[in-house]
Point group: C2
Chain length 449, copies 2
């Protein structure tokens, strides 16, 4: 089962493209899963990939198109005519079709829609375009199997055979009343183990999880994950069944969100990849570096204020990177734990408890690290008073950094701001500045320069 | 559908526990999903939670137990007798049952197994215990629906009705030969739209994705995600069907892995949560802080080597936190992008291309940041030569840090080591030291102190 895209295979396909051997290429595609075809497309250049998409039947390439990186897909679509895009879209489920149309410029999207031959498919897609991408409406597909509560098991089985032709995976069967209001669901298993003359109203499960078209994607993912759902029906404001969301889209969503959080923590805004252009990468990275630079210049300014220490205690200036690193690392650790806790909804207890805990934790870490600093001082023969001053002020910096790292995300969260922005460069930079200030301020108090 | 655990509800349940009102508690549970019951359990203390698990029927609590944080579940299990745990396990799917047994001490697990009344269930669970937790064998469940290639559609439908009683979600039906070798799969849809007298061998899909018991969890997740699978069969070394893995377990796995990567990048080893004990949090955090401390002490040592600069260019020492921050931030950005690219298998092109790209990117960022440093120098009236030296050496530090951040993960990956360990504190610390050394070395070359 393991498909592996070898250099040889890529070369062979490139050769077939040059030779224009459509028959052989088509044969290749017949034996591969669309996800594998997508891998092949990505190994080709735009011209070659476009050739394949244009030449092969849409049935074989449409799903593969959906698996491509967005940028690459857009480049291919640019080379296709509205009619050619419409042909691909005819083969796609409504949710994927709507995603493709959303990626096109307004006017071009309209041209493509007018080229779709299947009126009912086009109507469904247009309906989906109304919804915000970050809502259940933006995630759902129109393909689903629904039955009336008034049918019998036998009628239902027959109807399902018809409806299921259009639906790749059946999952649940949704039960509606005469006005299309969602009443419940029917598990395939229950249907299959029930006598044929039972009425659906006797066997359907009236308790059904659902979301409305306006539910945010984040909440959809949370509900589906919490209740281990593989599909969830979507209703409109009046409770009428309008679509369903399947778990494969949610898996992709969860992964994308995790990657975004990870990038945010690493100081990368907007979703970029290693192979994006230098301009795109710069746009995502430079702003955070500028933030860091301002932090660094802030430290310069602070140290200039403690310039008199240069004369008697220059050693203090050798320790500033250590202090900044400690403040940064502790802050990032604390914020990462809290941000994850908030995301998973398992930050319990009062703010006071948390304060006591963070201080306790910082004391243990700070004292352990302080002992190492003192040992270092003894080994290199630093003046004991200076070493003690460094160790003590480092301890206070660590406590301070832990509190900032813990409470800034909590406060942001309470104000309805995504706490994840408080991780990474933001917390590191502010902790650098405050840490260095605190370090010199305490040193000055003790050493009296 | 939205269940929300209010303070009032928690209090009410605590009250019912104190009053020993089993009937009312049982009623509560009947109306809730197990994931909601798990939320309630986590809002209680161990004694209260244990009381609920002991008092209510296992049918109602077993699935909720699986949703709890591992630590909390272990605490509850400690308070249960082997017989009580066995009762919970009887209600669980084999994969969850095996997970629970894996959490128990060896001897206790054996006692529990001997208390399981359903022999065949116990046997299946024991069989699962043989597999490593990080493999398909460790993830799979024994519950599945399988049919023989020699049956007819009608026979198959009857058999499925029997087998499906034990299986919560049917997904695919797996087709085997007489020796139980996996031959293919049968989609429920195909089965339902086929005439009753067709033979299974006429309608089954011989191409089926599968994994073997020894496939690593990571690869299982990748395959299921790539091919949008909702379940995948697992075969043993001889190709015989032994279990299946469902997507809900993979969703949990993907989320856990993303959290681990995120924590690793933040300098937190082992999976901890905001509500873990101070000792556990310290164990996860202190080692990385010690690493950072050694890095800081390394910087102290390096700066002592450039002590003579103190006399004429003390300003350089004010800039060390800025240099360290830039080196750290750039390194973290570069490594995060590469680590994600490696995980998603989309780092293409040669090492040489990547080298050129990183240098180009660093030049753009470094020059932009250098201009800001020069502006700062002009505003505060620094000697121009010093400002230029700082800007130039910062540029070189940025290039250097980007290269380290990019190539260390690539090298680790080529050697089969998880590149994620190169993110976070590791890269920050080494970049701090090298960055500061480079900064002073170049300054010395130019300014000649």
């Amino acid at each position: 089962m393991a498909f592996e895209l070898t250099k040889e295979l890529t070369e062979e396909i490139k050769g077939l493209i040059v030779a224009g051997n459509v028959e052989k290429l088509s044969e290749f595609h017949d034996n591969l899963h669309f996800a594998d075809i997508a891998e092949i497309l990505e190994a080709l250049n735009i011209q070659e990939a476009t050739y394949l998409v244009k030449t092969l039947e849409a049935e074989k390439t449409s799903d593969a198109l959906m698996e491509l990186e967005e940028d690459f897909r857009e480049d291919i679509l640019k080379n296709l005519s509205a009619k050619e895009i419409a042909e691909e879209i005819e083969e796609l489920d409504t949710d994927d079709a709507a995603d493709i149309l959303n990626e096109l410029p307004q006017e071009r999207a309209e041209n493509v829609i007018s080229e779709i031959e299947d009126e009912s498919h086009a109507e469904k897609i247009v309906d989906l375009l109304r919804y915000d991408e970050d809502t259940a409406g933006g995630l759902m597909a129109k393909e689903l199997v629904q039955v009336s509560e008034n049918w019998t098991v036998a009628e239902c089985l027959n109807q399902i055979k018809v409806q299921a032709e259009d639906v790749k995976r059946v999952h649940s069967i949704y039960v509606v009343d005469d006005t299309n209001k969602l009443k419940g669901r029917l598990s395939l298993r229950d249907l299959m183990v029930s006598p044929n003359d039972f009425s659906i109203s006797q066997i359907y499960i009236p308790k059904v999880d659902f979301v409305t078209v306006n539910t945010e994607s984040d909440d959809v993912a949370r509900v589906m994950q919490k209740y281990d759902l593989e599909a969830i029906p979507v209703v409109d404001e009046r409770g009428k069944l309008v679509g369903r969301i399947t778990i494969d889209d949610i898996v992709d969503y969860i992964k994308d969100e995790a990657e975004k959080d990870y990038q945010m923590a690493a100081g990368i805004s907007s979703d970029v990849e290693a192979d994006d252009s230098i301009i795109e990468l710069t746009k995502a990275r430079l702003p955070w570096l500028v933030l860091g630079l301002f932090g660094g210049l802030g430290s310069v300014y602070i140290m200039q204020g403690f310039e008199e220490a240069l004369q008697h205690f220059p050693i203090l200036f050798f320790f500033t990177p250590l202090i900044a690193a400690m403040a940064g690392n502790v802050g990032v650790q604390s914020s990462a734990i809290i941000v994850q806790g908030l995301a998973n909804d398992n930050v319990k207890g009062s703010l006071w408890d948390r304060l006591v805990k963070e201080i306790g934790l910082s004391l243990i870490n700070g004292i352990a690290l302080g002992i190492l600093v003192i040992l270092f001082g003894l080994v290199v023969g630093q003046p004991p008073m200076v070493t003690l001053t460094i160790a003590l002020s480092m301890l206070l910096v660590i406590i301070f950094a832990a509190l900032i790292g813990t409470f800034v995300p909590i406060i942001l969260d309470k104000r309805g701001i995504d706490p994840a922005i408080a991780t990474g460069p933001f917390i590191t930079t502010s902790n650098d500045i405050f840490g260095i200030f605190l370090f010199f301020y305490i040193s000055k108090l003790i050493l009296g320069f």
